[in-house]
Every structure is written in structure tokens, then in C-alpha cells.
Symmetry: C2
Subunit: 438 residues, 2 copies
């Protein structure tokens, strides 16, 4: 039985090193508990900037941070790379890829993954972008298709490589569309003299009537306006019917020939096996009370994207954003201590700090409570907020340097194909690597 | 037939975007030729810093540079991602993975790869480090083995994961040994509280009686001295007999249990099929005359690690270092123009600017002609020379920031396992990636 308890203190096991999980662990520093964090990766990912890894403007290392390094000064913290294959809430144990682990308190902070709504064909051919390996795969696909386009003689033959269809006009879709439009407008003709700017097209598709659904109408309208001015084809009220790797079909009969379909149309929680089925809601969210606890389980909590606090105020839970996970993480840490001390627990009240989305150079939209603004200042705020939120001084500086150099020479990004990406013959474990290299 | 000639100018095809290839292309800027560069990757690699990618102190993107971006202002330059499968010097064509290419002048600048001297078993289990994917694989192996060590309860069980054996005490072996020793001395106990510094051991093995063979005796002696003080076991006059993935055996009967064997004991040229066998020397180097031309072929040149200028002054050719490739690249560009103009060609004279090697923080050795010095100042010179040699302002700054932050908090590096590395079941194309991601 794997366990890192070196003391007689109760063991708090945290599954997932996302925004929420990190805050629970930090919140338990210097408390009379042992903390064991499990994650399939040895790093925390700053998801809001993933799309810049996908477009090659940032290196993966600048938006990820070593979990061990982050907690190297926290005495009661231990970390293991592990995947949780099952939860036994009776025996209070976890089945994991590194053996069974007994917990006293469990925090499920496993986040969410891409939701293809059961469409296996689209899942096979469309590109998701929820993890660093996924973002890197997407980067390689985009760059490889530009290289393939260069080899084709006719405009028709280049089309499938140079049409980019982004399904889902949430922040991810909007920011990717903007980044691809800038690649087209500023980089394409310079780096690929064989290609013309007009040859590349970027489509942003959503079944809703607006982009950035959850944001204000001003923000949505302005974001769409920015995108259109940048040359993005924004297709709203459009539902995807199928994608076979070559042609994407919409329910209104329209089709686009493309080898680049990026799917950010929905997410679903990553719920470990063993969580009571009765407590799992639509979109794989775990229903919790207002202290993020699963009904009937005194010592099991769920926070962030995988959870939904359901009460009269929030019948549908909270939005799947970092701030919710962060605030729930802070509170769960406090409440675990309260419970241990027999003190009353504090209920969760979400403090919405507003939302930001960037479309491109000097272009962003901001809803900060009643204050709504768009354009250059919103873009500065967006950059500032993201820089200070990044873990680690080094990452802040490296990202800043990348952004400056992109801004100055308008040809930012390293755009390296570090490994070739192929759709065919997928090994069992998608994260595995070969041990040889030519 | 793939060809990028848009003009009536002769086509110079350059195979390889290493130090030499880049200089040939730049040297032909604004000349009445078309330049087509072929490489299997879309980036140039700054090899001298590869070992820092392997130890997780630098991200791959900072030591690589986009070939297209680098030449985006050179009108007569074209680039293709391609592998050359054969050269037909009669028909003056190349067989490549993107079709046949006809050349008027050919420059073979394909560099070198790891030489296992025919030992298939060692080749299967030891880690090479000549490319970015290889350096990343090595990083993942090292970090995964530290994670595996954490899971083991006994010192004996941890041993195979914590013994590191570096075969070959050239610059690569010495710099890796130093970097691993610093990981052990400064990072291990902090990031892995379950492990003790003494548990990790770093061995540097060479069959020669000295480290940094080609350098001065002062440099070699001081480098060894530095390594020993840092806790590296330096085993000289020792030949490797076998390595089966678990135990490395030496000819003197000694054995070490280890899952980390890194092989930098030799290199060999990467010679395209079709180069006359008679002109290929030991270690797969192509024999050339003093203008880097292959005997009997008026329009085919070979430079850098894959070539050897053989004449009375250099019966064994020149050392396999960047400076030789760079100077040969500059000269070949000039001589191609001279040949086109019927002007006399200039013979190659190697201007040896000396050599540097770093062992660690404040520790390096320098042989600059007659001037030989070691220690802190040599280390500053090493950093300065490598920074200014890096392509791109962004890379210079990012690497500098990394080094500063490493120096200040003595716990540098991101050390992320972006993809799991497995020895077993190697896919056919080692560079391919799966298209899904869990």
C-alpha cells in the first residue's frame, strides 16, 4: 500500500494539480495534516494560455510549472505521478496506477476534458486542446499542414491544408481564431513565400447566436467585430453534423474541405470510478453541497470543473473557470481544518471577478462587474492579469519576453515541429514515446 | 518533380540545416542562384546546449530556431521538410520523401549521429543525445526514474533508478555529468524529500586516460578535478563490454546496476545513399579536397561533421566542431560563386578559435590558443560565447533569463515530463506522435 504518511496526522489526498488542487495543498501548509497530491503529470498547467502553445507562440514550459518545485518548501506535502483508477468511499481507499492509497480526507480536483457529445467520428478526427500534449499535437498538425500546402501546386490541392475550422466560439475558440488569423495576416506570406494570405481561411463555428456566450452582449459583439475585421469567417447558429477527416458537414447543408478541425465546443468532468452515480450530473459534474462535499460522504470533496455546488442560488452550479476552482480550493482547505477541530464550516460564496478574452494584438474584451470595456486597454489588462497569475518568476519573464518580441517584430513564436504528428496507428497509451530517434 | 526554382538561375540544394548548412545559404544571399534547403526538421538546433534540454534546465524552443523564420527575408531561399533517400550524381538528382529534386550544385551538410560501434544491444538500451527529440527522451527518462525511485522503499530497490552512467568523457559527457551532479547536490533532496543526495550516483566513463581528450592537459586535469569535487565518479581507461538495460559491464569485470546509461562515446557521419563508397572514410566521413568538394564530382560539396578535408596538413581531417562547419559553409558559398564566375577557388584553412567546456556553476575550462584558463572566468566566457552564438534575440534573452534564475535560486530548470517515455514497443517511425491524448 503506497502511502506517504510519515506522521500520525490524518492524510489529505488531492487528486489533480489544477488551479483548485494547488490551492487546497497550499491552504493546508503548516496544518496538522499530511498532504498527498496525485496527478498524471508532474506539472501544473496554466490553461488560459494553452492556445498560445498550440499556435507556437509560447513554449510549453512557460505555461507549466513543476509541482515538486512549487511545493519544495512545504514540509507536509508529498507528490506522486499516478492515475486514480477507482475510489472506494467505504474503505476510504483509492485504486491507483502506483497501488492502493488510504485517505482520511479526499479532494477530487480532476478538472474537465473535451466533450464530443458521443460523436465517435468527430472525436477521432477533430483536435481537442485541453492538455499540453494535446496543444503540442495541434501545433504540429497546423505547421505540418502548412508544409504540406507548400508542396501542392494548385490552389484546390492546398485548400484542405489551409482551411481551419474552429468549432465552439467560447474563449478557447475565439482566442485560437484570433491567433490563427494573425498567423495568416502577418506570418504566412513571410515564412511561406509559396503561399498567399488569401489561400488560408479561418472559420469560427458555433450553434449559439453569439461568440463568447457567457460574456456580456457588448463583449460578444465587439469580439465578433474584431474577428471579422481580422478576416475570420464567423458562422453562428450553425450545428456540426459530421467530420470524416476531410470534409466537415453542417446541419444547414454547408460543407468545408479541411484537415484542420479544432473542437472546443464543450467540456465534461473527469470523474473517478467509484463516485456514487446518483451524485453525477449532466456533463459529468459531481453534485456537492455548499462546502463542496459529496452528499453522504463526510470526508470527500469535489471542486473546480469536475464539481457543481447545487443549491437554490446556483441551481446549475458555477461557471467552469479558474476563479471558481481557486476559491473553492481555498475554502475546502479551511473547512477540512474546521471539521478536524469540530468548528463550524463556511459555505462557498463565489466572488466573480469578471472575465476577459483576447482576440489578438491590441484587441481584447473585458467584463469586470458593471465595468465593460474592449480594445487596447482591455488587452493590457488581459496581459497583466495573465502574467501575474502565472506560477514562477521565470515563467512570468519568459512569457513577457515572448510577448514583447512577438509585438515588436510582428512575427513572434518559435513554430517548431519537435515531433511529427500522425493521425494513423495510435499506440495504446497516447502519452508514450518511442525510445529511439532518428 | 519537386523543385522551387522560380528563375533561370542555377539551383543550389543544401541538405541539412546545421551550422554549416545555414552559412552556405546565408552566404548565397543576393547571389544569382536559387537556394533550396532540405532538413527533416523545420528548425536549426544549437547543439552545444542540448545537454541542458536533457537535464530540464532549458526548453527545447530556446536552443532551436525556425529555419523559415531565419530566412524569411532572403528572396532566393526556399525550404522543404524532407529526408534524402538517395543521391544520383550522374543525373544530378536527389530521391527524397517529397519527390525527386534536380540540383545544379549540391551541398551535403547532414552532420553526424551517435556511433554505437555496431553494438546493437547497447544501441537498444543506452540513450543517445544528438537531436532535440533524443534530448527530450533523455530528460523524461531521467525524471521518470527519479519518480520511480521515490516509490521504492529500500535503498537497494532505488539504486538502478539513481545510478547514472555516462559513457564518453568528451564535452557532452562532461557537461552532462556536471549538470546531473548539480541536480543531485542542489535539487534532489529539495524536490524529492523521500530521497537522499547520497542515494544518487553519477559515473563518467571513458576508455581514454583523460576527460575532454582533445583539450589541453591543464583543461582535462582541471575538469576532472571539478567533477570529482562535485561528487562524480570518473572512471578512466575503462571500456564498456555490455549493457542489457539493467546492468552495465566493463571489460575489467566491474559492473553497475543502472537504468540510466547515456552514450556519447562517439559519432559517425550521416551519409546519403549514392555518395561514392570509395570516398567514405572511417566514421562515415566523406573525403573531400581542400574546397570541400568530393573527388570527381565538380558540383557536390560536403562540409561539417559528415566531411573530412584530407590533405598533407590534415591527414585525419578537422575536429567535429561547429567552427569547422561554419567556416567551411562560408567558404563553400564563396567558392560556388567563384566556380560560376570561372574565378579561382580559395582553399580551406581552419582558424581554430579554441575550445570551451563547462562543468557547472562557476566552473568551466578554456583553451584559447596559447591562453589556457579555468574556473569562474572561463565559465563567464563560456556563457557569453554561447549566448551570442544563439540564433535570435528572443532565444538569447530566454536562455539568459533561465540561467539567471537557475543561478540565483540554485534550483533552476522546469523539469517537466511532457510525455511519458517508454522503452518498450517502439513504433516504426520514432518521431511520430499519437493523435489522441488522455
Amino acid at each position: 500500500m503506497e502511502s506517504s504518511t510519515q506522521t500520525k496526522f490524518p492524510l489529505v489526498v488531492i487528486i489533480g494539480a489544477g488551479f483548485g488542487g494547488l490551492r487546497v495543498a497550499k491552504g493546508l501548509e503548516d496544518q496538522p495534516v499530511d498532504v498527498l497530491m496525485l496527478d498524471k503529470h508532474n506539472y501544473h498547467v496554466f490553461q488560459p494560455l494553452l492556445y498560445q502553445v498550440a499556435t507556437g507562440s509560447l513554449e510549453a514550459e512557460s505555461i507549466a510549472f513543476s509541482i515538486r518545485k512549487n511545493f519544495s518548501d512545504q514540509k507536509n506535502f508529498r507528490f506522486r505521478i499516478a492515475e486514480v483508477t477507482g475510489v472506494d468511499t467505504e474503505a476510504q481507499t483509492l485504486d491507483t496506477t502506483i497501488g492502493d492509497i488510504k485517505y482520511d480526507y479526499l479532494v477530487i480536483a480532476t478538472g474537465s476534458t473535451t466533450n464530443f457529445f458521443g460523436n465517435k467520428q468527430i472525436e477521432k478526427f477533430a483536435m481537442p486542446m485541453k492538455s499540453i500534449p494535446e496543444a503540442l499535437n495541434l501545433r504540429y498538425l497546423i505547421l505540418q499542414n502548412l508544409e504540406s500546402a507548400v508542396l501542392e501546386k494548385s490552389k484546390e490541392a492546398r485548400e484542405p491544408y489551409l482551411n481551419f475550422v474552429l468549432v465552439g466560439a467560447g474563449p478557447t475558440g475565439v482566442e485560437l481564431a484570433g491567433a490563427l488569423a494573425e498567423l495568416r495576416n502577418h506570418v504566412l506570406a513571410r515564412d511561406y513565400p509559396e503561399l498567399k494570405r488569401e489561400d488560408m481561411r479561418v472559420y469560427l463555428v458555433d450553434f449559439l447566436p453569439k461568440v463568447l456566450g457567457p460574456m456580456s452582449d457588448e463583449a460578444s459583439a465587439k469580439a465578433k467585430d474584431f474577428l471579422v475585421k481580422m478576416g475570420v469567417d464567423v458562422l453562428l447558429n450553425v450545428k456540426v453534423e459530421s467530420y470524416d477527416g476531410e470534409v466537415i458537414k453542417f446541419e444547414d447543408g454547408r460543407t468545408i474541405i479541411t484537415r484542420n478541425v479544432i473542437w472546443s465546443a464543450g467540456v465534461m468532468g473527469v470523474v473517478p470510478k467509484g463516485v456514487p452515480e446518483t451524485e453525477i450530473l449532466r456533463g459529468n459534474k459531481i453534485k456537492t453541497d455548499n462546502i463542496s462535499r459529496i452528499a453522504g460522504l463526510d470526508n470527500v470533496f469535489a471542486i473546480g470543473d469536475v464539481a457543481a455546488v447545487i443549491d437554490e442560488e446556483t441551481p446549475k452550479g458555477h461557471p467552469g473557470v479558474a476563479q471558481v476552482a481557486i476559491q473553492q480550493g481555498d475554502l475546502v482547505a479551511k473547512n477540512i481544518i474546521n471539521i478536524m477541530n469540530g468548528a463550524p464550516t463556511k459555505p462557498f460564496k463565489y466572488n466573480d471577478k469578471g472575465s476577459l478574452a483576447t482576440i489578438g494584438r491590441n484587441k481584447a474584451v473585458a467584463d469586470l462587474g458593471k465595468i465593460k470595456f474592449q480594445g487596447f486597454f482591455a488587452w493590457l489588462v488581459w496581459m497583466f492579469v495573465h502574467l501575474i497569475s502565472l506560477l514562477g518568476f521565470r515563467n512570468k519573464v519568459v512569457v513577457f519576453v515572448n510577448w514583447i518580441s512577438s509585438y515588436v517584430n510582428n512575427n513572434g513564436g518559435t513554430r517548431l515541429i519537435l515531433r511529427r504528428f500522425v493521425r494513423e496507428d495510435v499506440p495504446k497509451d497516447a502519452e508514450n514515446l518511442p525510445n529511439t530517434e532518428s
